[in-house]
């Protein structure tokens, strides 16, 4: 069946960045997102999610390529310097192009 190429942008960041990130997703034109409560380890140390101050979230958004472009740019500019965070992009295929 006919599938359409899209970009999946994955963002892992500290829980307190949630509002800022979802706000950004909305601004750059993502039509939805999915959020995971996760634990993690990285250059800024372990985040065992024992209290909210040390909790991580992963946010995934399936978006049009140009949206992904804008999103990554904004993340690099405003977020990377401030938050414990990583972001990466990958290729996925969806059925209902109009949804994204």
């Amino acid at each position: 069946m006919k599938t359409h190429p899209m970009k999946l942008v994955t963002i892992v960041c500290e829980a307190y960045a949630q509002d800022a990130v979802t706000k950004l997703l909305h601004e750059v034109g993502a039509h939805g997102w999915t959020l995971f409560s996760v634990e993690g380890d990285g250059s800024q140390g372990k985040r065992p999610a024992d209290i909210r101050e040390f909790a991580n979230i992963q946010i995934e958004a399936v978006v049009q390529p140009e949206v992904s472009e804008r999103l990554l740019e904004r993340l690099a500019k405003d977020f990377f310097p401030r938050y414990a965070m990583i972001a990466f992009e990958s290729d996925v295929r969806v059925l209902r192009r109009e949804k994204f």
């Binding site: 024992d50 209290i51 101050e53």
Partner: protein, 326 residues
């Protein structure tokens, strides 16, 4: 009772012993872990219970008795950052935004430290004004707002992106979960008074001390997991995290006396002034001053000041109060 008796009495209470047990769990890398929902549930219970109880106490005592010391507490909370900021900025050579963030934490308060203090007073049969919870409720926000303003002034406005706005700070400082629960439960308790208390007493009052003990077991682990970050914060902040509370504790006790509180209430005012926030402030600061480094303010309030107050601070502030009152 000498200061040493006071301290050892405190150290042998279930609450403090469970806190120590939590520290040990973290240091021995035990796989014991409280799931975050349990931590949240215990926090909600403690805040609602203490807030509700305080509200009922206000209804009993009448606002006339409460407003003056409450106002004093509020002003003290707002002022503390004004002198801790320069100390950190010039004494500790911290950046403007870091100094402001830390100052906000020490002006604000720790509900759990307050609760542990009420438990301590109960244990040594020292009566205290139950409505003191009102001081806890009004002292949480002001310092946060002052701290954020200091931070914004210190950094070029352009530096912060639109998402870290003053609006965010104000909203967090007024509707952040811990403040909201505490103030909300206080109002609920105030509105229903004694008759309401009778209905829910056996849930919000009777098991309270046991729940606190369990919660401090978790807090011991939480603090213990951060002890490793102590080297990151440096000697100045370590000293700051112990000396400042002692100074603020004395000021708080004195102010409590001036505001007409009894020995017990003044002790609690001292504890509040001495305590540093690790729930409300970190959330508000992280969202509105994202350029501040959490390693500084969180480690000092959570891994230095909190354990110090729980183990030694509380009895010390009580001794200070005894000295002031006799």
């Amino acid at each position: 009772m000498s200061i040493f008796e006071a301290i050892s009495a405190n150290l042998l209470s279930p609450a403090v012993l469970f806190f120590a047990l939590g520290l040990i769990a973290a240091l021995t890398k035990s796989d014991l872990k409280f799931p975050e929902p349990l931590y949240v549930a215990l926090t909600i219970y403690l805040l609602v219970a203490i807030g509700f109880k305080g509200g009922v106490a206000i209804a009993e005592a009448g606002i006339a008795k409460v407003w003056l010391p409450a106002l004093a507490a509020m002003v003290l909370g707002a002022l503390i950052p004004l002198w801790t900021y320069p100390v950190l900025r010039f004494g500790g050579k911290f950046s403007a935004v870091d100094a402001a963030a830390i100052a906000a934490h020490y002006g604000s308060v720790s509900a759990v430290t307050f609760i542990a203090a009420t438990n301590y007073l109960k244990a040594i049969n020292q009566p205290y004004e139950n409505y003191a919870t009102a001081f806890l409720a009004v002292m949480e926000s002001p310092a946060i707002l002052v701290g954020v303003v200091l931070g914004k002034l210190g950094t070029r406005a352009s530096a912060g992106p639109d998402f870290s706005s003053m609006k965010t700070a104000i909203h967090e400082a007024l509707f952040g979960r811990s403040i909201f629960l505490l103030v909300g439960a206080l109002l609920v308790g105030w509105l229903c008074g004694k008759p309401g208390m009778e209905k829910v007493e056996s849930f919000f009052v009777t098991p309270f001390q046991g729940v606190l003990a369990l919660f401090l077991l978790e807090m011991g682990m939480v603090a213990g997991r951060r002890l490793g970050d102590l080297k990151k914060v440096g000697p100045f902040l370590l000293a700051f995290g112990i000396v400042m509370p002692l100074i603020h504790g004395a000021i708080g006790v004195w102010l409590g006396k001036v505001a007409g509180l009894e020995l017990g209430g003044a002790t609690l005012m001292g504890v509040l002034a001495a305590s540093a926030s690790y729930i409300a402030a970190p959330a508000a600061i992280r969202m509105s001053l994202p350029d501040a480094n959490p390693a500084f303010y969180l480690t000092s309030s959570l891994a230095v000041t909190f354990p110090f107050n729980i183990a030694l601070g509380i009895p010390i502030y009580y001794e200070i109060a005894l000295w002031f009152y006799h």
